[in-house]
């Protein structure tokens, strides 16, 4: 946060990830290089099994790549031990899950404050209220997740992801569990974060409509980045994705 923002919030350099070993080994990422500039909104798309989720896990420090480097705010994640990696994730990376993953026993405000409190600090006065205002849930601060709708839960999760003032926000199918209207609200919120607050968002999705909210879309196929689309529209994303899936199908035949 005091750190000078490097132009790229996240850089991936030739990242490789293999699951399993021996004859059962599956290469999920086969040398992916990508830059995610600060204040940008990037969507990652691809047919199922293309390595989208693995890419997200490696970029966000949830998983460790087998080869290559991941830099978050200029810090090489590969050089950090488990504890330092956790601390970096806590202080500099926000994560939004498909299934919200709020802690059921905590209120919305407590959930938002959790990452900061885990770092042994107290959130500054008004900080949590401010974040809940950003996601338009200031009036739900004392509600528990079970008392909130899906869209509201996801917005609480976004506020939580923003709590520590991260350099980058990763979102894994953030609208996957929502109906299309609340999904659009969440996407508009992410868009606003980038435009108005200058946050950086990297989102994995399979929904062309969702991807069209981003500045650019990276297409992943079979563990490598195969294409990039700037200023996407739902139609252009859908047609590009259909080409990729057709390609997959032709290969399979």
């Amino acid at each position: 946060m005091n750190q000078t923002h490097s132009p790229d919030a996240v850089r991936l350099i030739d990242v490789r990830r293999v699951y399993g070993s021996g004859p059962n080994a599956v290469a999920a990422l086969r040398g992916v290089s990508a830059d995610f500039p600060a204040r940008s909104f990037t969507a990652i798309m691809g047919p199922s099994g293309s390595g989208k989720s693995t890419l997200l896990q490696c970029a966000s420090g949830l998983d460790r790549p087998d080869g290559g480097r991941v830099l978050v705010g200029g810090v090489d994640l590969g050089r950090l031990d488990e504890r330092r990696l956790t601390e970096l994730r806590r202080d500099r990376i926000g994560f939004v899950f498909q299934s919200f993953n709020l802690v059921e026993s905590l209120t919305a405000a407590q959930n938002v404050a959790l990452p900061v409190r885990l770092s042994g600090r107290r959130p500054p006065a008004g900080h949590v209220e401010e974040l809940l205002r950003v996601v338009a849930l200031a009036d739900r601060a004392r509600h528990r997740p079970a008392e909130l709708s899906g869209g509201q839960q996801q917005r609480v999760a976004i506020a939580r992801a923003l709590a520590a003032g991260p350099e980058v926000l990763f979102a894994d199918e953030p609208t996957g569990a929502l109906d299309s209207r609340t999904g659009r609200e969440v996407l508009a919120l992410l868009r606003r974060l980038v435009g108005e607050r200058g946050d950086t968002v990297v989102m994995v999705t399979h929904d062309p409509l969702a991807a069209s909210h981003a500045d650019r879309v990276l297409f992943l196929s079979d563990g490598t980045i195969v294409d990039e689309l700037r200023s996407p529209t739902p139609a252009s994303v859908a047609s590009r994705l259909a080409d990729l899936e057709d390609g997959d199908r032709r290969e399979a035949v």
Partner: protein
Amino acid sequence: MNGVAALVGVAWLTLRSRVSGFAGAIVALALGVGYSGAAVSLLATASALPPGTPAPLRRAVQESGSLLVMLAVIGAFATIFVVAGTFAFTVAQRRRELAVLRAVGATPGQVRGLVMAEAWLAAVMASVIGTVLAFPLTAGVTAALRGQGLLPAGFVSRVSPGALFGAFVPGVVIGVVAAASAARRASQVRPAEALRDAALAEPPIGRGRWGGGLAFLACGAGMLALVPVAPPDGRMPLTMFVSLPLVLGFALLAPAFAAWVGAAVATPLVRLTSATGMLARENVRQAVRRTASTAAPVLVTVGLTGSLLGGTALLGRAIAADAQRSWRSDLVVSGPGAAEVAAVPGVRVAVPVTAGEVEVSANRTERTVAALGVLPEGIGQVMNVSHVAGDLAGLRHRGVAADRRQAEGFGWRLGGPVRLALPGREPAVLRLAAVFDGSPLGGPLLVPQDLLPGPVSVHVAVGPGGDPRAVAAAIERRSDRVRVTPTAETTAAAGKARQEGMRIGAVALTGFAVAYTLISVANTSAMAFGSRRSEFARLLRIGARRAQVLRMVLWESLCVAATGALLGVAVTALAVLGLREVLRGIGSAVPAALPWAETGAVVGACVAVVTLSSLVPAAVALRGRHDASSRR
């Protein structure tokens, strides 16, 4: 550690919102603390008896005290088991939540700290409840022991603050220690598990668990092996406790067998039902960990019952058989004038014997040992004393004679000093005049008769070719005030009384343990089935009827209970047959009989508890199905 306050806060909230999950641990721990508070209070009252208290009262208090100590050991065992099981379960069920914590920035140490904080809170809460429970329990236990005649009618015990403190502290410690392995497991949850349903199947049984399980089995085998070399009065508790490590070992290794035992049990159901049996079998087989942890408390309950009751019955029978064999006499004569029977025709030898107990001071401890007051003449003809070393005639001159192994156990040397306290006398130093091979289980000590006063019974051996019945009749004709009984009958009656005493002790121990482990059975099964809300909702959505889902739950719970019961019977067989072999090895062969009736009753109770505590939460979950399907 960073964020301790945050952790304790989260722990408190988790605990509050998951009271049902922790209920089993808290109830078990509270009962344990309350109960040990009561037991220690009772012992404290007993040890502080005023100096003038009559000896029988003192003795009764002591005896019930040692029963209570055994109960406390079993209680601690069961408590650790229940608490550890509950915490392991809550951790397994919260993997996702813990992964979220890891993903949003909790370090492994913090996650471990969170679970430990929950354990502290639960343990302190339970111990406070237990301290309060100690008051009614002290009164209740005292009343129960008075009712059984183990305590005199006038005995009143008071709850002592020291006892409460003495129960509170171990309660908290046991609670926290039992949660330690669950906390370690929690800290190993990977943050990536928070993503979608990437539920990576954990290995059903880790290396540590294999190691622990095998170590406990080895410990059980070691205890069995110790039975023959242990001093005779240490054999009884050893047999009682040999079941604990065996049961624990089996419970730890349960995940290794649970899947196929469960599937085997369920196979007939698959034939008998259309879909529900198949679903139940696959659930039992696929969720190995869940099956094993629900079956484990059943295993412990059945295994403890079977091996405690089976073991003591076996030992009781061995002791009775032993007593039979230690006498060679044909008749026992008692009553005034019994001493003159030597003159009756047909009597080859008549030896007056008194029976009682002496306090032995050896190896810096005091032990109460059965003793016979004898005269050396003819003793070899009425008792089985073989391979005598030294001289039994020394019994006349302040000498004692003992079984060879018993003498070794006390560290006595032939001709060396023997420190004894005789009833109503000052402690005295006698001399070990002779050792002999008595009974395998260590018979009574032989002491000079003038040192052990009491009613005399005369052991009579009939001459070769004589008819004991005719001799008995002849003795009875001389005086109608003597009583004549065949030796076999006398020893059988004494053996029976002893066996009955042991059985009451074992039933008390078992009853207590069962009451305790049934809590754990109910708790785990309620947790396991109550947490499957979304799975049940999914079944309803694809067209299953509520009754079908409930039937599936019923089949599953029956399979799980049967799995636990089968493994429990296996533990019982291992413990009882092992003990039989050990007894055979030391020359005491008795037929083993497994306690089918009691085991069957306990299996029935387990099945009832498992099915009830699975159907009720499942029915509740099904009632709220709209809720379950619209939200995660």
